[in-house]
Symmetry: D2
Amino acid sequence: MVIMAASTSSLTFQPILERIAEEIGRTPGRGRPADYIPALAACDPRRFGMAVAELDGSVYGVGDWREPFSTQSITKVFTLALDLAREGDELWEHVGREPSGNPFNSLIQLEYENGIPRNPFINAGALVVTDRLQTRTGDASGELLAFLRAESGNRALDFDKDVAASESAHGDRNAALAHFMASYGNIDNPVPVLLDQYFRQCSVTASCADLALATTFLARHGIRADGTRLLTRSQAKQVNAVMLTCGTYDAAGDFAYRVGLPGKSGVGGGIIAVVPGRCTLCVWSPGLDERGNSVAGVAALDRFTTLTGLSVF
Amino acid sequence: MVIMAASTSSLTFQPILERIAEEIGRTPGRGRPADYIPALAACDPRRFGMAVAELDGSVYGVGDWREPFSTQSITKVFTLALDLAREGDELWEHVGREPSGNPFNSLIQLEYENGIPRNPFINAGALVVTDRLQTRTGDASGELLAFLRAESGNRALDFDKDVAASESAHGDRNAALAHFMASYGNIDNPVPVLLDQYFRQCSVTASCADLALATTFLARHGIRADGTRLLTRSQAKQVNAVMLTCGTYDAAGDFAYRVGLPGKSGVGGGIIAVVPGRCTLCVWSPGLDERGNSVAGVAALDRFTTLTGLSVF
Amino acid sequence: MVIMAASTSSLTFQPILERIAEEIGRTPGRGRPADYIPALAACDPRRFGMAVAELDGSVYGVGDWREPFSTQSITKVFTLALDLAREGDELWEHVGREPSGNPFNSLIQLEYENGIPRNPFINAGALVVTDRLQTRTGDASGELLAFLRAESGNRALDFDKDVAASESAHGDRNAALAHFMASYGNIDNPVPVLLDQYFRQCSVTASCADLALATTFLARHGIRADGTRLLTRSQAKQVNAVMLTCGTYDAAGDFAYRVGLPGKSGVGGGIIAVVPGRCTLCVWSPGLDERGNSVAGVAALDRFTTLTGLSVF
Amino acid sequence: MVIMAASTSSLTFQPILERIAEEIGRTPGRGRPADYIPALAACDPRRFGMAVAELDGSVYGVGDWREPFSTQSITKVFTLALDLAREGDELWEHVGREPSGNPFNSLIQLEYENGIPRNPFINAGALVVTDRLQTRTGDASGELLAFLRAESGNRALDFDKDVAASESAHGDRNAALAHFMASYGNIDNPVPVLLDQYFRQCSVTASCADLALATTFLARHGIRADGTRLLTRSQAKQVNAVMLTCGTYDAAGDFAYRVGLPGKSGVGGGIIAVVPGRCTLCVWSPGLDERGNSVAGVAALDRFTTLTGLSVF
């Protein structure tokens, strides 16, 4: 990372977060929570939390930054990193790294490209990554949980069984994607096993503080909280690049344009973002825009990069 | 253009460029020149040049870095900036800023999205931007030429009339795109006028040195060579973001992953890239990969960011 | 044709037509006239005419059956027959004969299938047929006009220059189609020449009586009014088959299901239909459904086949 | 089933069938058997049988006309008729009747049209019809089997359990289709139950004689072999119309053009066809063209309509 604004101390983040929270708080709850499962639909769209974690593990926050929420697609980043760490570039023969240019569930490009999903962050791609991690570990969601607990230091971080059951009950689209890719030979595990693993991952409940800390390995160019290396420097760069170009559904261009940081959102209303070499962020607010990203979350990140100059552009 | 006395920081670039040129030179000419018009097909794929320009206007280079070549789609960046400077955000009602996820000439998404192209760097989007700049100036390609001459300091920089005529003779796809968008009311000028302006822009001939200098306003957050402001800081960030997510046809994800810089390629074999706040690059080598990007050019930029750490990730 | 209901005399048609007209007349004007050009938008949706022509050239009618109207896409049938008569099966290397499964202007399948339109009755296919007839005759629309005059016996039948000019002024979609196919090498003539010929054909004004008579060569298995052969028996069968499967835009299945006859509609509100070996029909009423077919026209043909049993199924 | 004493009209069919068989026999086995399941791949492409059944139940044949083969998609016609008889036009709110214009397994149009398949003969549409018949009867495949036995008079006609198991083992595409439509609310039964029913139907083994007889209710405008009515005259016409426009995958236009009869093919190499008011045909030969239709089968039907004039056009 090149263009870091000079900052002698992490202490400067707290007033910035407070200023952002105040500005966001002045606008009423915007957007609508995801409504396809009851657990998400019940969320109060006025909730708002934001956390910043620095490379040394210090973490700052405002609002509901310690409140656990449903991480949903955010965990796709960690599953990608865990599988990439194990199999390296072979993964990229089974999933692409180009933006999809289509709504996140679309089957069209998948058919056009013979069962190879465009990137690891659309549902089809995340199913492939989960399938491969499952083959290598025998328990993909268990690996994920252990990683998140270790990085966040929060041993209570866990799956939400009700959310997983609810996802499963509404899982026909993901079942269709998995069977479709299986018809091209791009899925190894039985579809029900894969879906079970996948929905468990989506159901992880964690706070802004947890997720900002769990993401710091990407700001540290691949180094985990305990100082060991998960990814090579090049692989960490790759994950950041995929986040920037594909991390926010069909709004990746807009997110890059407004926020200018690698980021990944979930329909639970959370967004993680990385300032390579400097810090990570996690923001949460359940009201979504029509493309599935948190309205207040994107606004808060936009303000953060404007106020600090910490954009990659 | 002035070749500056070496500053402390600039001293380091020359040996890096020479090392890259040596490494690239050891591999034989790879890829194939574009063959849809004779002027491009005749290029020697072994040509290679690379230049770096710093914020103060100093420029360094190796190989054929002073050799003029056909800029092709690279000029889409400058036309975008010139129109954005004039009309601001209204432009984004007529062209999107999301990756296309499809080959660069595709009509499918254009139909699906009612004549609004996905971004300014696919042909359809560049036609819209040119059309709008033409409406505002009466001579879009003349504006472009004046800008490029001023920023590069090269008064001899010019259109290549043979290339423009050749493009026009093979212009049925672009004519189809223009008429198609006109049917949705998203083109103001008569299609023949628009195409003439568009093909002239594509025909600009310039060297790596010229283009690296002409791009520095994006590294300077919007400030032109003469110190005046073309774009606001926010607009400059926007252009860089669109370059990163959409600048290299259907390989934007791969380019971000390997190079990690905002960039824009042309089928003439050139690529420009921006290190915000620090410098710009231009590399040229006519052999293209199957997605239309210079093989040696991408490899050279990849080496540059690896050797210098000057990636945004 | 196999399953002809026994009918000793053509005299039976007149009361059937009158009964249909009476039933249709009881329902108020339904549907909306095409509104993309003024000449069509001005039509009174309550107009209704219907004619039956027998193999011997006798013709019967009700309502506005002698009123000239804008034939629009109906003439595609005659252009197809005229070109097929000249070049035979070679035509089918340049245009398919499968239903399009998409709205009639769609570019998607055209791109997917490399510039070969699905069938001669979508606009892209009709442009190809016109282009080929133009190459063979030097005046495709003149050939068409001469044929229609000869078969109908109406020397006053003519183009409507205002309609042709109006089509041309709204012709961006067709221009896009023509340029797009030209980019695949599937158009021989300059696009402006082709479009001029095409829009003239669309502008032919004729009555139900004229069109029923002009269509009888298809009921006579290829024999013209003067006893000479235009098409082989096999070719006449082919044209009827293409009409049944592709003649009514994206409603061909529905038309076959309800009417059960080869037919071709136009956005002027006309529909021609063929009872092979027995008679032809033409109905006109300007109010269209959302797929571009005359509401009262389809209803009248539906009643006709129900009352007479003269369906092919 | 009774082999009837020759009637005046029926006498003519036997020599025609023999002439066709002789002509077809002179050309070597053409096309390739379906190879996605072993039971089909093992078929000898030189096998050829053809049968004609008249309205009175008399049946004629040549070659392997009494040899049972795998009916595959042919049974979609009978399932459609059985469900249409039960629920009438309500069915058409859940499946369309327009040609698909795409290969028979395509998910693209299904997504574009919100989970409503284009017609009952593509796999997605047949799954919907089976689902609805299952809901109404509790045993869709049992209903089908009982009907086929009754109409053919062949009590030994049955499912092939090995084929059904084989289809199930290669069933990921159909599972994807079913889950995908379920996500739009267009499937009532649990997907595994539906697939089991569906694959059993595909596995029915029957001979040309059996199938020609089982199809005669469509030539008799809805009347079953025992004189009771299954479909109204209008419904029988509807099924014939859907067969003509959608019965042979992406070759319906070509089939109408060459054969000119309502028909339905299966990848087992069988094709049934209807001459409304007169007779039915069934032909079998396992070698398929690239669109999944029997090469010798289409050729034999083409010869039949040419020799007899019994085309609907």
